[in-house]
């Protein structure tokens, strides 16, 4: 092969990434990636050596969700690739543009079950938006362009590129030329909503008495929060959100009715039940949102706007589908609605002219006397439901004082924080420091910690980063580290359970090594709380949820050189969090919370309005030791 510019595959890859504007790569090296890491020395891109590839993928994901750019992660062939899988699947379920690069064994031994060979191309296929295996070095640059194009446009999602080692070391036969535009003939996402559907939407709104907006993560992804607010305010329509859409409208806004679905507010869930028009924007009606599908929004006509046509009609039958970018569609809707509103007002004015004032009312259009869209009765109902919800969401004196203690705790004077109170403490402290929440991101892990955050933490903007689709334990902490690289000046706080934190706690080393100032809050209830709760909802038998003596998180953090503090009352929690955020240093805060506290829930697959309060129940800590198990072996 003729050498041109003496560029090998690895160097070309790095040039291609730089051309895409990649600033940071999260990864872990290995044999087949030696040439890549060697070439990286000549680049200005930052590489973060994580302690596990899963965490690298979560970091890239966190980075992507907040930066709006693709997040890049890399792992070696075989185990490196399989370790990336959970992180990439997480990004896939939440439509996050992650570029996952994997090394592969040399192409001449592919298929021979070589050392560290795995069919990563096959493994990643169902958990990515698309994937590539590079078969010649000359294709590398084009494929990287395509990978970014596919990952970041339309409905975003992860793209995987598998790269055999000989292709990374192989010379290119042509000079590296980054294509400006890449034409992927078979990939053309629709971004502009169909005018006829927009017209139908407006008609449906005008004919509704009880409209409700359901906003999902697609609103944040499309950066359409402003438009959503303008649209809602224009017509005074209440807005509920999915978990992924949380904060796309300020939850302190009077039109916001909060989270909907399995752990949603009573207001949102009841409004869905009552509304006559459901305007869904960028959401995919997951089972966590709908509950029992046949009883979801039983009285409503459904309008569904989504960039992914396959989401429309998948879980819920839709009356008016609009495929396109949420921002574009909402802008179009707003424009049309404003025009109509102006016309309406002009007509009203002309009707009210002195010449007309003595005209017989019978002749005039009854609508003209009314408001543009009269949903005042509905607004009253919304307000009432919201007030009831607020009561339920607020902290009671008992909760504040943590009176619900077991006898043992009372006797031993064990101090713990009620989890709901802990969330309020975190929220108040964060708002104290950043009143508009302009410069703060909160990640959560999965479990009760996530649902407490979802239920009780009101977000003024879309600042919540969480694994909504796959529900991946171990996500929150590494994702927070990734977010910090996207917004180095933001306050980044991760909230995890003790179980989930331990799933990627090795990243304390990454945090310490690079001195990444993130505050990791661990809600320690010494149990797999969410599973414990599920067990008590389903059949009330306890099994395998007792984490017992979790490590001493303070010592664990200290062993990595990370500052850490354990808190067991509100005051200490607030003070410590404030100190940690303002100090802007890596910090771990272990919050001792009551174990056995349940989050209000709609049982899986049940009707949304049937929320139950599962029994609060201590996990039984019946510990069986190895020596006692031996007899059973």
């Amino acid at each position: 092969m003729t050498k041109v510019n003496n560029v090998n595959g690895a160097e070309a890859l790095i040039k291609a990434l730089e051309a895409e504007g990649t600033k940071v790569i999260f990864g872990y090296p290995g044999g087949v990636l030696v040439s890549f890491y060697e070439s990286l020395c000549d680049s200005n891109m930052i590489h973060i050596l994580t302690r596990h590839e899963q965490a690298a993928a979560h970091m890239a994901d966190g980075y992507a969700r907040v930066s709006g750019k693709a997040g890049v992660c890399i792992g070696t062939s075989g185990p490196g690739a399989t370790n990336l899988v959970t992180g990439v699947a997480t990004a896939h379920m939440d439509s996050s543009p992650v570029i996952a690069l994997t090394g592969q064994v040399s192409s001449n031994i592919i298929g021979d079950d070589a050392f560290q060979e795995i069919d990563s191309f096959g493994i990643f296929m169902p958990i990515t938006k698309h994937n590539f295996q590079i078969r010649q070095a000359d294709d590398l640059v084009d494929i990287m362009r395509k990978a970014h194009e596919i990952a970041t446009t339309g409905r975003p999602g992860p793209v995987h590129v598998d790269m055999p080692s000989d292709i990374l070391t192989g010379e290119l036969s042509k000079a590296v030329k980054i294509p400006a535009d890449i034409n992927i003939s078979s990939y053309k996402p629709t971004t502009v909503g169909h005018p006829l559907q927009i017209k139908k939407t407006i008609e449906a709104i005008m004919n509704s008495k009880k409209p409700l907006i359901l906003a999902g993560g697609g609103v944040s992804i499309a950066h359409a929060s402003e438009e959503l607010l303008e649209f809602a305010e224009l017509l005074n329509i209440p807005v509920c959100t999915t978990l992924m859409g949380k904060g796309c409208i300020s939850e302190k806004h009077e039109l916001s009715t909060g989270l909907t679905g399995m752990h949603g507010t009573q207001a949102s869930n009841n409004l869905i039940d009552k509304c006559d028009l459901l305007i869904a924007v960028g959401c995919r009606f997951s089972d966590r949102v709908t509950g029992k599908v046949s009883e979801f929004a039983p009285n409503a006509k459904v309008i569904h706007m989504d960039i992914d046509p396959a989401e429309i009609g998948k879980n819920i039958s839709v009356d008016i589908p609009i495929v396109g970018d949420a921002k574009r569609i909402l802008q179009d809707l707003i424009k049309q609605l404003k025009k109509q509103k102006r016309k309406h007002e002009e007509l009203l004015k002309s009707e009210n002219t002195p010449e007309n004032s003595n005209l017989n009312n019978f002749n005039s259009n009854p609508n003209l006397n009314s408001k543009f869209l009269d949903i005042s009765e509905w607004s009253v109902e919304v307000k009432k439901l919201k007030e009831e919800s607020e009561k339920e969401l607020s902290v009671t004196v008992e909760e504040q004082q943590n009176l619900e203690k077991t006898d043992k705790e009372k006797i031993e004077k064990i101090e713990k924080i009620h989890p709901k109170v802990a969330i309020y403490d975190l929220m108040e402290t964060i708002y104290d420091i950043d009143p508009e929440l302009e410069n703060t991101y909160v990640t959560t892990d999965v479990g009760q910690n996530q649902m407490w955050t979802a239920r009780y933490f009101k977000f003024k903007k879309d600042a919540l980063i969480t694994s909504g689709g796959l529900g991946t334990m171990g996500f929150g902490f590494p994702a927070a580290l990734g977010v910090k690289f996207a917004k180095p000046n933001a306050n980044v706080i991760s909230i995890s359970g003790d179980g989930g934190f331990l799933m990627n706690s090795q990243e304390l080393a990454t945090m310490a090594h690079y001195n990444i100032p993130v505050v990791a809050v661990i809600f320690n209830n010494r149990a797999l709380g969410m599973v414990h709760q599920l067990q008590s909802v389903l059949n009330n038998r306890q099994s395998q949820i007792d984490l017992g003596e979790t490590p001493d998180f303070i010592q664990l953090a200290h062993s990595y050189g990370v500052m850490a503090e354990r808190v067991s009352n509100s005051k200490d929690l607030k003070e410590t969090l404030k100190k940690a955020i303002l100090m802007n240093k890596p910090y771990v805060i272990e919050v001792m919370i009551d174990s056995g506290h349940a989050v209000k829930v709609v049982a899986p697959g049940a009707n949304l309005t049937k929320m139950i309060e599962p029994e609060n129940k201590e996990p039984c800590s019946e510990k069986i030791l190895f020596k006692d198990m031996v007899s059973k072996l």
Partner: protein
Amino acid sequence: MDKRHIITVLVLHKPSVLQRISGLFARRWFNISSITVGTTENPDIARMTIVVKGDDTHLEQVLKQLNKLVEVVKVKDLKHNNYVERELCIVKIHAPTESGKSQITQYANIFRGSIVDLSAETITVEITGDESKINAFLDLVRPLGIKEVARTGLTALMRGSKILKSNKK
């Protein structure tokens, strides 16, 4: 109501496209009755004909999910009778006697099949047609003893001058 749907898919002629498509069907529990793949007049494009059973909502999801695949250029379900469908079937039939052989030859003629192989014990017939024609032929010779059957699965084209063109220009 479960109906039989014939779906035509034009795909980029790339490695692993079949894996991508069959994987999509498998993980979404879409049952494939048959799938055929072959090249087209354009060397970069392959055509697949997929037969699935399901109701209309099911079909809609199948079409949409197929459309989402980056390598899929065009998806269309062939509705009603506006298409020609064919399947190739080769069947080896037990025929140890001369009278058996001549009987099968007669059947084959009626069905416009042809004899493609002969042995002392067997006769092998090639037959093309739509699914029901092939089924009818197999039903006819079954009492004689079918030794082996190989069917290609269905392939189809729209009737008239209509053709499938990429709508993702």
